[in-house]
């Protein structure tokens, strides 16, 4: 009897131990610390890679087209795309996946996302691939990228290592009520001083606020840059407590006080100005080119122009560059890494970027794509009022002014804080100095 009991105990102990080993033994090896070895010949066995993104339904169709075209070139590479919801969902899922070692091979990423992934040593540096004699780029290839788009992929360290290549890029542009502007003989403003003059005219004419800036954070960052002030740097230092930035915010705040300009918050706390614009309650709005469709009206003709610039002392021509890049993750076999690189290289090629940008609200990442017949045909649709084509033309006109604010793991916090700052100045009855002090206190404690 006693023996049987001991036996039972022993058996259950062994089973328990076995279960533990089952869990531990199944652990797939995390390959992220393995040296990068780039095969000169692509292995012939089937290679499966996954691409995570945050694209909506319409763009998923375009991505599938890209995948299908890619698989004609490399039949043994199987690419699976998976939308993970919004950009924040994508980032959160990736952060969890990196900890568990289940990250995909490629993913769309904003620079500040990449900065966080880099803390987990998860992102594959691309320089060895870019410079590889068989699989790499020529100098002509690199020169063909829109320079500011390409630069965004290498702003993470002193050595300027590439950690991503540009994929879906957008910017801010100004939509205006062309029907109204034409009727009143108004010229589209290109400077903030002109915005004031035109807005004053519209206020006298209609009694309405003429201008709205969609994103308060972008308003702060862009105007600070235009006025020649600093915002943050790559090490995460907060630098915006300067006279230029305060002058910029002071200028916009004065326009608001004079009833000439606002942000969507003013209009019953809306998030975007597009509905107010379409209801003809404002006549000019600066918003993301990715959301151009939302500003399209069936009632009046919508014109699209570059965003206004500052033309005072110390001015810098600047417009924010938005949209994401694509990064490759280290945790994969050499064959998967190479396959991922080939896929990334394909989706940033002239042919692919032309196709993708002609069907979406994003811009080509290659200069040669702008000259292609297919893209020119897309741009020609601007004459018949196509808002995506009009946006693309306006964006191209200001493409030499693109800038990116520095990305570091806390840069989205800084964005949130300056958005609160702008709201505090416009709607919270705070003085500019007070609001800056509050934001600084929040960010540097």
């Amino acid at each position: 009897m006693e023996e049987r009991k001991t036996m039972k105990k022993l058996i259950s102990f062994i089973i328990l131990l076995g279960a533990l080993f089952l869990v531990a033994g199944c652990a797939p090896e995390n390959l992220k610390d393995k040296d990068i070895i780039i095969p000169d010949v692509l292995p012939t066995e089937e290679i499966n890679i996954t691409f995570w993104h945050a694209m909506g339904q319409a763009n998923q169709v375009l991505i599938q087209e890209l995948i299908d075209d890619f698989q004609v070139l490399y039949p043994n590479i199987k690419v699976t795309q998976a939308s993970q919801g919004g950009y924040n969902d994508l980032r959160d899922k990736l952060n969890t996946a990196i900890r568990a070692g289940t990250e995909p091979n490629l993913a769309q990423a904003y620079p500040d996302h990449v900065a966080v992934y880099l803390q987990g040593n998860a992102v594959l540096p691309l320089d060895e691939y870019i410079n590889h004699p068989v699989w790499g780029y020529t100098q002509a290839d690199l020169d063909d990228f829109v320079p500011s788009f390409l630069a965004e992929g290498r702003l993470y360290d002193e050595a300027q290592t590439y950690y991503s290549l540009p994929f879906n890029k957008s910017t801010e542009i100004m939509f205006y009520n062309k029907t109204y502007f034409d009727a009143k003989g108004l010229t589209v403003p290109s400077t903030w001083a002109e915005v004031r003059t035109v807005a004053q005219f519209i206020k006298n004419d209609t009694g309405k606020i003429a201008f709205a800036y969609d994103s308060e954070a972008n308003l702060f960052i862009t105007l600070t840059e235009q006025w020649g002030g600093a915002y943050t740097d790559y090490n995460g230092n907060i630098l915006f407590n300067n006279t230029q930035s305060k002058a910029a915010v002071g200028f916009f705040s004065q326009m608001y006080k004079d009833g000439l300009a606002a942000t969507p918050t003013h209009f019953d706390g809306q998030n975007y100005a597009s509905d107010i614009f379409k209801a003809e309650n404002i006549y000019m709005t600066v918003g993301s080119s990715a959301g151009a469709r939302y500003n399209d009206s069936t009632v009046f003709e919508v014109g699209v122009a570059p965003i206004p610039q500052f033309d005072g002392a110390g001015a810098k021509q600047a417009v924010i560059q938005q949209g994401t890049n694509v990064s490759i993750f280290k945790n994969a076999t050499d064959a998967q890494r190479l396959a991922s690189w080939l896929f990334l290289k394909y989706i940033t090629s002239t042919e692919a970027t032309t196709m993708f940008s002609s069907g979406s609200a994003y811009f080509p990442v290659r200069i040669s794509a702008y000259d292609s017949a297919e893209y020119q045909a897309f741009l020609a649709k601007a004459n018949t009022g196509d808002i995506l084509a009009r946006s693309a033309i306006a964006a191209k006109a200001q493409s030499n002014r693109f800038f990116t604010s520095a990305a570091f793991p806390g840069s989205s916090l800084a964005r949130d804080e300056v958005q609160a700052l702008v709201r505090a100045v416009l709607y919270g009855n705070k003085t500019v100095d007070q609001a800056y002090q509050d934001a600084l206190n929040e960010l540097t404690w």
Binding site: G56, Q57, T80, S83, Y87, D89, T96, Q270, A290
Partner: protein, 290 residues
């Protein structure tokens, strides 16, 4: 004479009292009913509005134009039949699993004698003190090591044991008199037979409650399925509804989202109508945990 007057007075006062009480009671119930119905009402009218009308401020209480075309348009946005299938599949299997493990464990804790029973049971109860959200990352890592990410196993296996339900059913089992067990033993019944023939039928109402609550919980699950399902074919309806209508600019087509939500809420509503009695009993039995 005076007594008669008094009785009249008392009756009148009583009538006024009940009337007043009823007005208060039904007034309160009406307000509460409104609070419960408004989200549903809002979902249905939003599903019938145009995109422009959804954004209007102040919002309209009834759609200006009935957009029945929202429904087919919404259902075309994603493979909702697949999502529903996944949800039902995961719900049924994990509920079945939960009921089995719960019955066996509750029987062991309620009836059997073994070493460390009290300690083991307190350990079980102790895990209830830890919020589930805290275990999400460790669970994810475990599931990832088993290579279960993006499979049904990841959606089902972590949820086939519930300490709370074990506790609930154990209490129910404990109320069954010892004499029944001893009598059965005298008749030579095995423990398992006793469990199946005697205890399960007696505790059936509790088991039905557990089944229903578990199904509802599984239908509503969001955070975990969102984490472990990577591909579209493994997605549950909750996650599908959340993401199918968001474009890459971050804006949602709310009218379509609500149309799809209305469609997938209907099955639950119908289930509720049929099983109302059991659901209400289950919820009241388990206290506030819904």
């Amino acid at each position: 004479m005076t007594t008669k007057m008094n009785v009249k007075n008392i009756v009148r006062n009583y009538k006024w009292d009940t009337l007043f009480k009823n007005i208060l009671l039904y007034g309160f119930l009406t307000i509460m009913a409104f609070i419960v119905v408004i989200p549903f009402y809002w979902m249905v009218i939003t599903s019938l509005k145009t995109r422009a009308e959804v954004d209007l401020f102040p919002p309209t209480l009834f759609p200006a134009v009935m957009m029945f075309s929202n429904f087919p348009e919404a259902m075309a946005q994603a493979d909702f039949s697949r999502y529903i299938y996944n949800t039902i599949y995961v719900g049924v299997i994990s509920t079945f699993g939960t009921v089995i493990t719960t019955i066996l464990a509750a029987f062991a804790f309620a009836r059997l004698e073994f070493k460390g029973k009290a300690l083991l049971f307190s350990l079980f109860l102790a895990t209830m003190m830890i919020p589930g959200e805290m275990m999400v990352i460790t669970n994810y890592i475990t599931v990832a090591r088993l290579n279960w990410i993006d499979t049904y196993e990841a959606l089902i296996v972590p949820f086939i044991v519930s300490v709370f339900y074990i506790y609930l059913l154990r209490q129910s089992f404990k109320q069954i008199p010892n004499e029944l067990y001893l009598a059965a033993k005298v008749d030579g019944t095995s423990d398992f037979k006793y469990l199946i023939r005697i205890m399960v039928p007696i505790a059936m109402p509790t088991i039905i409650s557990i089944t229903i609550l578990k199904l509802i919980g599984s239908w509503n699950a969001y955070v975990w399925p969102n984490l472990v399902a990577d591909s579209d074919s493994m997605r549950l309806i909750t996650n599908g509804l959340r993401r199918a209508f968001t474009d890459d600019y971050g804006r949602s087509a709310i009218h379509l989202q609500m149309a799809a939500t209305t469609v997938v809420t209907m099955p639950l509503l119908i289930v509720f109508l049929f099983l109302r009695k059991y659901i209400m009993r289950g919820v009241s039995r388990s206290g506030i945990k819904g």
